[in-house]
Symmetry: D2
Subunit: 139 residues, 4 copies
């Protein structure tokens, strides 16, 4: 399996296609079927009490599997999430970025399935896990 897009190309794709959120998601590493994505945590991601909101972690998981898929098949902006199951397991550490590791478990012609582990940077125990299915539009 060969990469169609590397970290630089994925970051450029985000800036072009999703400019309003591109600064939230920094692709750090890309290997076949796996990417890591950093979320630089900012005030807008926090809930009262200072914890990172559930939708912030959902979005990070969702974008990360999308990017892992794009890395393998090339840019397809119309791919849509059809299912996500997410477990919120621990409160993220305060003042630390989130790091998502997304791996594809299946990359078919019509569907991609993958899972994601989200960590507070530098912590061993994950804060959330998610699995997602993407529908890939026919060419």
């Amino acid at each position: 399996m060969e990469l169609k897009m590397d970290a630089g190309a994925l970051n450029t794709l985000m800036q072009t296609e999703f400019p309003q959120v591109a600064t939230d998601y920094i692709v750090e590493t890309v290997v076949p079927m796996e990417v890591t994505v950093r979320l630089p945590v900012a005030d807008r991601h926090l809930r009262p009490g200072g914890t990172i909101s559930g939708p912030t972690m959902f979005s990070l998981a969702d974008v990360s599997i999308y990017l892992a898929t794009m890395a393998m098949i090339g840019p397809v902006t119309l791919a849509v999430t059809t299912n996500c199951s997410i477990d919120f397991m621990r409160k993220p550490a305060a003042g630390v970025d989130l790091i998502a590791t997304a791996r594809l478990l299946k990359l078919g012609r019509l569907l991609a399935v993958g899972d994601v582990l989200i960590h507070s940077e530098g912590m061993k125990a994950p804060v959330a896990r998610a699995s997602l299915t993407y529908a890939i539009p026919p060419k």
Copy 2:
């Protein structure tokens, strides 16, 4: 079963505890174990192409089950989502609000479980469904 909070009290709770997002979620009806919540769709909820983003629908489902739980047990701002499974089934209609109907299926001492159907206002076929589990903090 008796309601601890009605629609007015829930809307006030949102404005007090979550002022930055309170205008996104309008509680319309409350009966025991079930609420309906309107999301007035605005530009910030849209993805390129004009469709409503997945995180917007996730957040609506999440808030709706939270509000259904608060209606029954009274305000507990520290309740946290532990699990969500969501299916995105259809593209929402353009220029129309989303309406979420959230019902509690279990309301235990420590856990609440419920499901949510999300419709584009006036459409019969749902755009998304979700099921969620909330952990209720001990008193």
Copy 3:
């Protein structure tokens, strides 16, 4: 929407295609997009302590959505489950059948999505809920 198969035709399908489990699943009612299925609980469904096993409830949910789909599109024995999310909420009542109510929320050309509520017969509070996605083979 019109039914392609009624309760009698679905029960016959089960006996023909899945004879080894057909006595476990009795279709009771069928309307467009919804079926109810009875599981006559027997010793083989029980775990130590007398509770009904998780796999028994998973199977009931799985078969019920399959039957709801067949009711609408006619017999397609090669449909396969691609995803299931299930919540086990309460211990089923002892010595009572399980009743599953399965409704289709989306019936596309390639995918069917539905959810299921499982009750112990005569009890108001559900014992489990599930949502499932089926892949429908192309004709």
Copy 4:
């Protein structure tokens, strides 16, 4: 973290507590927070057409996370599954055992959360993935 039970102890637990299914699940390796379990595939696990049934894979995932939890906390036969999300991704290979790798992602006082990958023995691509939550009874 220290193991409370090794592979031999877990296999003995299965034979004592679940004698009717103990031959289906052979614990092969145990390390802290992770077990591998073999399902020797037999006719009773097959659907028409020779594929392994969904409930067989659900049961394997369910038992594997249970065993990973028991390895860490010692025998607690009353632990119950509260949630499972499972993706069926590929048809298992014919005539080959299934191997489940279950890892715990959170082991709290009241809840354990883990995920499972299921492979046909000798194949690189997984046939299914699952995530599960277990409620651990208070001592």
